[in-house]
Subunit: 345 residues, 2 copies
């Protein structure tokens, strides 16, 4: 059995000190990340240049000794590989060609044609796995179909994902066909990441909270279940982490039905509720407010210790409730790690 702390926690073991990593740990809060970013012309170039993407993946492991690395990439690489035009506009976010009609859909590439575009990502995985200390597992990831669809339909980020919800109401056939295409492409993408060396996969459903109650099962739980099932069928030892961000009480139904081995909790989730409702069933990951890494001080110490204590009775991977922000102070990350590792040992 793989006895690295991250793998043990994801298998359901309760550990005296939780393993820890951070969403967006390879990011702009690190000066060494900004230096590498400056060597790539665009953000997409950074994602598709294995030497650079591998380097930024490894940086936070070297600096902080986290218990897991996560591939540096972007959830919009899948739509890009399906044929969408994609640019990241500095300070504004992504812009991509939209898919809102059967004709748009017909112009997309088939799901199994994504690998040519995504090959550099698999090469990044290989390089990271080769360079990473053996005791640190590598997490591969993809965006969940609903979240990816919200960008493909709107052509950009939207505050309430209204264009995607409207398409689901007005033209469910086209919407469902798009979701199916993303499910297929994402499954292939994650299987290829694992084949290249990823040892854990995570599915980011960043906008799950925008799904109306009646659509949550169909568009958040079911796609995750099918993708997780495909990964586990091929690689039974690879744990799948689900992250239906903002799902609220829906976290419980997701835990019951999605067939994932761990659930990442967003910042809003009450730890006592999650310890009672979710942890008996699976490993939970989370969920410190990333703004505490901006604020620092005793508030950070207290909240970190409280998070560790709240989840100490079951399997837990310490993480933030959302990605670390560019304004975070790396010294506060050190402080958080001291509070976690000093808290119980």
């Amino acid at each position: 059995m793989d006895d690295r702390p991250m793998m043990r926690a994801l298998r359901g073991e309760t550990l005296p000190v939780p393993p820890v990593w951070m969403m967006r740990q390879a990011g702009r809060y690190l000066p060494e990340y900004r230096a590498v970013r400056a060597r790539a012309r665009t953000f997409l170039d950074l994602c598709y240049t294995p030497e650079l993407a591998a380097e930024v993946t490894l940086q936070p492991i070297r600096r902080f000794g986290f218990d897991a690395a996560i591939l540096f990439a972007d959830i919009l690489l899948v739509p890009h590989a399906l044929g969408a035009n994609l640019v990241f506009v500095e300070g504004e976010g992504p812009r991509l060609s939209t898919v809102t009609t059967p004709d748009d859909l017909a112009r997309l590439a088939p799901a199994d044609a994504v690998h040519a575009t995504l090959a550099p990502v698999y090469e990044t995985v290989r390089q990271v796995r080769a360079a990473l200390p053996a005791e640190v597992p590598l997490i591969g990831f993809a965006g969940a179909p609903w979240t990816v669809a919200t960008y493909m339909i709107a052509g950009r980020g939207t505050p309430d994902q209204a264009p995607a919800r409207l398409l689901a109401y007005r033209d469910p056939e086209t919407f469902d066909a798009l979701i199916e295409r993303i499910i297929a492409a994402t499954t292939g993408y994650l299987l290829a990441q694992v084949a290249a060396g990823a040892e854990i996969v995570k599915l980011f459903d960043s906008w799950a909270g925008a799904l109306p109650g009646p659509l949550f099962h169909r568009y958040a739980v079911e796609p995750a279940r099918r993708i997780a099932q495909a990964v586990r069928a091929a690689y039974p030892e690879v744990p799948v982490i689900g992250f239906p961000r903002g799902a609220g009480a829906g976290y419980a139904s997701f835990a019951a039905a999605a067939g994932v081995q761990a659930l990442a909790l967003d910042t809003s989730v009450d730890a006592a509720w999650a310890a009672h409702e979710l942890q008996p069933r699976l490993c939970v990951q989370g969920n410190l407010d990333p703004l505490l890494l901006v604020a620092g001080g005793p508030a950070l110490d207290r909240a970190t210790r409280a998070t560790v204590a709240a989840f100490a009775g079951g399997p837990h991977v310490f993480n933030l409730g959302h990605g670390i922000t560019p304004e975070a102070d790396p010294a506060n990350v050190e402080r958080m790690l001291r509070a976690i590792r000093g808290a119980q040992g």
Copy 2:
């Protein structure tokens, strides 16, 4: 006993057909609203001109025969009355002077000084109550302290309410003092609305979902509990509706501890979960996706009937899960009403 359907549902009665109103029912989707809006120089003028504010409050009652009217006003009138500069920038939203230091706080007016500024709102309530059919109760409202504080601290709407969360971490004394000031002002404001003729009050905590788990009880539940308690102490027959939007599983702890008579459910809440976890304790209100009033068609009929059916076993007020959007078609509102009222009688 007051036997109007809205009052019966809020008292906990299960009715064969739920009473219905819509958040933001006096709004830009109505041509008659836009005509009145054009007569006021600014949005604030509209809020503070009783004849105009009363007229737009009454319009949706005349057109649709809703079971409740809701005062036309804005949640930022309380900060305005506390001394904040406030302007609504067309297409961008509110801009107000910020409160982030003890000095800023010291410059605010005392809570009991808000009534001079807010007197026109009370006059609107009187005029609406005088003009409204006796069978239609009038809902007064205010923003909840956390949500109001997010605007006062940032000086505008923010995607994730980060400035308010940061102040709560960095300077909890100032943050708590601001929350206290808003609690006191809001309590006085709602009591004055009831004295002028409001028969129900609702507290809008639009950004409750941005509260990290460990802060939810302190900054969402407790302020609501204190305000509801003050209203009920003075007016035991006035029901209080809470709306901790985005609270997820926190809806259950809010229901248990806030002492409100009804809970407004946002669009993301699963109806089966709410029927099981919340409705045995209190009346629920909601929660059709407002985008269905843009989409229309059979999707609207199906979702409306499903919402009615899901909550048919307990006290329910039919509503949207969020405010109706300017793009909604008034004909779809008629269609929704037919589906509600035809669904069970």
